[in-house]
């Protein structure tokens, strides 16, 4: 395959949009005219749109989103507040790294969601359990990304600040913190995904409100268009957050930080 030209960003976007519109149209047409639609099994875009509009108008959508978002924001903020200092501590003091790294690595690598039923039994079905799980899931990307960022800090810059009379606090605020900003954002991007998992797991398992609960409830009652609509709302939110952060990352990194695996 020889390419005569490389696609510009604009052309990529166009092709992508064409592709999406094409799929939606195809989906609608196939299930309207070609394959009979079994409402207990599948649905089509027009029905999804109608369900979405209804949820929007009746306010149920906002309510569910608000409830899930509240728990998410609380858990996420806690993860930021706790995770970043720990990451800095581990990155800056080698003894701290030696002591804490194996333990945290073990926790990060484990499916901590396995603790979800336990947390729910202990804390009940309300906000606390959700926030606890979201915190546990979201804190580690911050810890490890900040840790990597601090270790990557150019030691020369630390010496430069020292040589001009900078003290410990100057080093933290004028060198380390700016250096790790891109890493914090990268960690945030990963933490968002993990946090959403926390919401979904708790709301699927034992909840009476929230968007995860809505999705599973719609499933139980075979309300497929509503279910698809709710899933898409979640998808849109996740994409907006994640891609927004990705743009922020490139904006904050005119200097290279290396290849990243998603």
């Amino acid at each position: 395959m020889a390419f005569k030209s490389f696609f510009s960003d604009y052309q990529r976007l166009l092709l992508g949009m064409v592709s999406v519109i094409g799929v939606v149209l195809l989906w609608e047409l196939v299930f309207t005219y070609v394959i009979p639609l079994n409402p207990f099994f599948f649905t089509k875009p027009s029905l999804i749109a109608a369900a979405f509009k209804e949820q929007l108008v009746s306010g149920t959508l906002w309510k569910d989103v608000a409830i899930s978002s509240k728990a998410f924001l609380l858990g996420f903020s806690l993860a930021v507040i706790v995770g970043i200092p720990i990451g800095v501590f581990m990155g800056w003091r080698r003894r701290a790294e030696y002591t804490l790294d194996p333990f945290f690595t073990a926790l990060y690598a484990s499916p901590l969601v396995a603790l979800a039923p336990l947390l729910i039994i202990i804390f009940g079905v309300g906000l606390t359990g959700k926030v606890a799980l979201i915190f546990l899931l979201a804190v580690f990307p911050f810890i490890f990304n900040v840790f990597a960022g601090v270790k990557c800090t150019d030691r020369l810059l630390v010496n430069v600040v020292r040589s001009f009379g900078g003290r410990e606090k100057d080093i933290y605020f004028k060198v380390i913190l700016p250096s790790i900003m891109p890493y914090i954002v990268a960690g945030a991007r990963i933490a968002i995904g993990r946090g959403i998992v926390g919401i979904l797991v708790t709301e699927f398992y034992a909840a009476s409100e929230g968007i995860g609960f809505a999705i599973s409830r719609f499933g139980d009652t075979y309300r497929l268009p509503d279910m698809f609509a709710a899933i898409m709302v979640l998808m849109i939110m996740a994409v907006v957050l994640t891609e927004g952060l990705r743009k922020l990352e490139t904006f904050l990194t005119p200097w290279k930080t290396g290849q990243e695996a998603r």
Partner: protein
């Protein structure tokens, strides 16, 4: 005395890290002996020793083996499918700019969303048999593999491709000689991430839609306040995850030796 300090200096990393973990376990074990827990907390409390005893019981009574088997099947089949689909698709997407542009919105959307959100749908479609779990594992593991393979292919040095082309290589040969070897480190990173997601899929899938498997065991034990059994399950998953991740990391470093900069791994 000097030999002791030398011994410490050489193994400082292992001593501090391992020591910390041992300390935590020790504290955990001795807490109930030191302070009397209020009734509410005592209900949820267990100790490492009890967890080990539970594990032993479960093995002896042959209760745990079938759970492990079911979970293992779900994991292996789901991950296997993800590799079979993800790798070729990633390769093709990386080489075909048109396909890449057309699939990109879907891949971005599905990658940003935790695949867990599709679990109720999969349960609707496939019930609570083994296939709904396999599917959630598949969908979870697919994207890291797909995306990392794709990135690996995209990042191949254009100069090298041209060099091989100038010797008259076909697309297939180019793939084999340049693209694939270059992509291997990326693919291995994708594999490591995929394993994590696959385990996640097993755990959560079994919470909600199962009558068998380790996740089901955990959920059931939690409801019955058998916290020690819960931790047996959690510990098994932790151990598996660590072992698999460690293996893949070793593979990763072996295969990445020629690369000058590190592929970021979080």
């Amino acid at each position: 005395m000097n030999t002791l300090t030398n011994f410490y200096r050489e193994r400082e990393q292992a001593i501090l890290g391992g020591g910390f973990i041992l300390l935590l376990i020790l504290i955990w074990q001795t807490v109930p002996a030191l302070i009397s827990l209020p009734r509410g907390i005592a209900l949820f409390f267990t100790t490492p020793v009890e967890v080990i005893k539970s594990f032993y019981q479960l093995v002896v009574k042959n209760e745990i083996q079938s759970h492990v088997y079911v979970s293992a099947v779900e994991f292996i089949v789901g991950l296997g499918l993800a590799i079979l689909v993800g790798l070729p698709l990633g390769l093709v997407m990386g080489r075909s700019k048109i396909l890449d542009a057309m699939l990109d919105p879907f891949v971005t959307a599905f990658n940003a969303t935790p695949r867990l959100v599709f679990l109720p749908l999969l349960i609707l479609w496939m019930g609570i048999g083994i296939w709904s779990k396999i599917m959630i594992v598949f969908v979870g593991a697919l994207f890291p593999l797909l995306i990392n393979t794709y990135e690996g292919v995209k990042n191949v040095d254009r100069v090298l491709v041209n060099v091989v082309r100038s010797f008259g290589a076909s697309e297939w040969q180019t793939m084999k000689v340049v693209v694939l070897p270059n992509s291997v480190p990326y693919i291995v990173v994708g594999l490591r991430l995929a394993i994590g997601r696959a385990l996640l899929g097993v755990v959560v899938g079994e919470f909600f839609a199962s009558s068998r498997g380790l996740g089901f065991m955990i959920a059931g034990a939690a409801t019955n306040y058998k916290v020690d059994v819960v931790f047996v399950g959690v510990a098994i998953f932790m151990g598996l995850s660590l072992a698999l991740t460690h293996l893949v990391k070793r593979l990763e470093s072996r295969l990445s030796r020629w690369r000058p900069d590190e592929v970021k791994t979080y």
